[in-house]
């Protein structure tokens, strides 16, 4: 099982780099994961990551893209509430890349 080094600790991640235990996530982890992809996180990335994190804590699952789009639009304005914007921020896809930075597990089932 691969690990992610963080503050002297070894945090378990799965084959695709998602944290195994979502509760072991700390804010400092996201920039480390992003740096591995060559991405530097700005405040706009953090708006999404924080939303995903809060959504997950409430619902125990990552939101559907259309919920994400809708809620981000509501909170930060229509210019941010669209998939194009989200894909520009997270070229690997908001569902995959942003959820990984936010410490969320991969979704499963008929999805």
């Amino acid at each position: 099982m691969p690990f992610l080094e963080f503050e002297g600790q070894q945090l378990e991640v799965d084959e695709d780099g998602y944290l195994v235990d979502w509760e072991s996530w700390k804010e400092g982890i996201a920039p480390i994961m992003a740096a591995q992809d060559g991405v530097e996180l700005g405040s706009e990335h953090w708006e999404i990551i924080k939303f995903l994190r809060e959504y997950f804590i409430k619902f125990q699952i990552a939101p559907m893209i259309k919920i994400l789009v809708k809620e981000i639009g509501k909170a930060f304005g229509p210019e941010k509430g669209n998939t194009k914007y989200l894909y520009e921020l997270f070229p690997g896809g908001p569902a995959k890349q942003a959820c990984r930075y936010a410490g969320l597990p991969k979704p499963t089932g008929c999805v």
Binding site: D14, D16, I61, M64, K66, P107, T108, C110
Partner: protein, 537 residues
Amino acid sequence: MANPKPEELIRINHVPPKQAWMDTRPDFRPGMFCYASKAKSLEYVGMPNPRQWSVKDEDWHLPENWQEIFIEGLRERVDKYRSFRLFLDICVRCGACADKCHFYIGGGDPKNMPVLRAELLRSVYRKYCTTSGRIMGKIAGARELTIDVLKEIWYYAYQCTECRRCSLFCPYGIDTAEITILARELLNLLGLNIDWIAGPVANCYRTGNHLGLQPHTIKDSFDMFIDDLETITGIKVSPTFNRKGAEILVVIPSGSMFADPGTFTTMGELLLFHELGLDYTWSTFASEGGDFGFFTTNEMAKRLHSKIYAEAKRLKVKWILGGECGHMWRVWHQYHNTWFGPVDYLEEPVSPITGTRFENAKSNKTVHITEFTADLIKNGKLNLDPKRNDNLIVTYHDSCNTSRGMGLLEEPRFIINNVCNNFYEMPENTIREQTFCCGSGSGLNASENMEQRLRGGLPRANAVRHVHKKYGVNMLACICAIDRAVLPPLMDYWVPGVAVTGVHEMVGNALIMKGERKRTTNLRGEPLPGMEGEEDV
């Protein structure tokens, strides 16, 4: 990991390797297999040997007596299931099935010929369960169960989608899917599942559905559908959840509650039920029609399936209406009665709208939604405007499980022909009973095995490509949640320009409702044909 380009993937080599099949070992190439089951997924449901392991590792961390467990398990099942013994004994290796498998067609690996895939287990059966195999060994087609043989069985048991297309062409009627099902069951004795199956199984046992949706998550998702439907139609639908005394319990796959485009199918169903004034309820517990337990073991399938009836009993409904899901119907149609016998606390389903008695559902008390809706249309109970779907040129993909698994062939087509004006069939040897699998069924719809999925989906995609070129087909309709999840990337890869829909999404679009406002968009929020310039009010 980047996938090969279509023009690379299409160069398929069907020339078998020079050496004998027993001497050829599988190449565990990334993209061609799924990740190993995680310890926590197995622990949650008490499956054997939960531990951390990786397919790529030499050591799969098996119990010391793994051979004994596997062979004893095999003997036990051969004794228990006469069909299994028969299927292992009677194959004459005629090869009629060989070129019928989508994985063989799209991949070229001879061990994906169903006859040879089954032979992987059959050879072990001969060695340990037959006299000729025990004495004559290799000459009688028998071989020892070594660790390499076990790994090979694992590799190919998860390269079969249990679609049963091969069985259709077998002159003996051998159900090769049953062999895969039991091979997987034996592998599960050693903790050798894939996590894309084991994870949903654990989720389903915990929350009632594969995605792990909690009651308030389901409610939140439906609230969004309700808002969107009000915007589109001006009508506020008001579904109920876990309501005791409702006449009908509706059960759909959880993917249709929480993943596009399945959500649009659910929205279509919400509109239909509202328009009918149906006395029905959703359940946040029986919140999964599908049964990934069916891809694990017979016992696990039973365990997960039973929740639907427990909930029907608790809510005191009269009967169950099942949604657009694939393998849920194979379980219901082919296994339910053997497992649980006729259900005596529900009533024989009768449509409250048309009075039609669904005699085919006399035993399990469960009606397929396309049977229900086709009956409504046939009796003139729905006011439909197919022109609203005029932007769609539609073809229909039969899900393996609803077509071969339950013979549901006409109802979806009847509905489609009533809700849209442009419907074209794919070539006849690729539809109905002969339908080609989506390439990702039986729990193989993970992302790490994408090359395998694209290869397995090639025959289906190729048939879609044919009608796309010939008739301009731009929409692939289906009635299965795995289909709705996996066909969009398959189409994007092989046939760009073809989208995917559930049948009841099209019903929802065509349905003229009492008191609705003039619709300008479809359920996806896209302009209806002829409404492209209209302002959304």
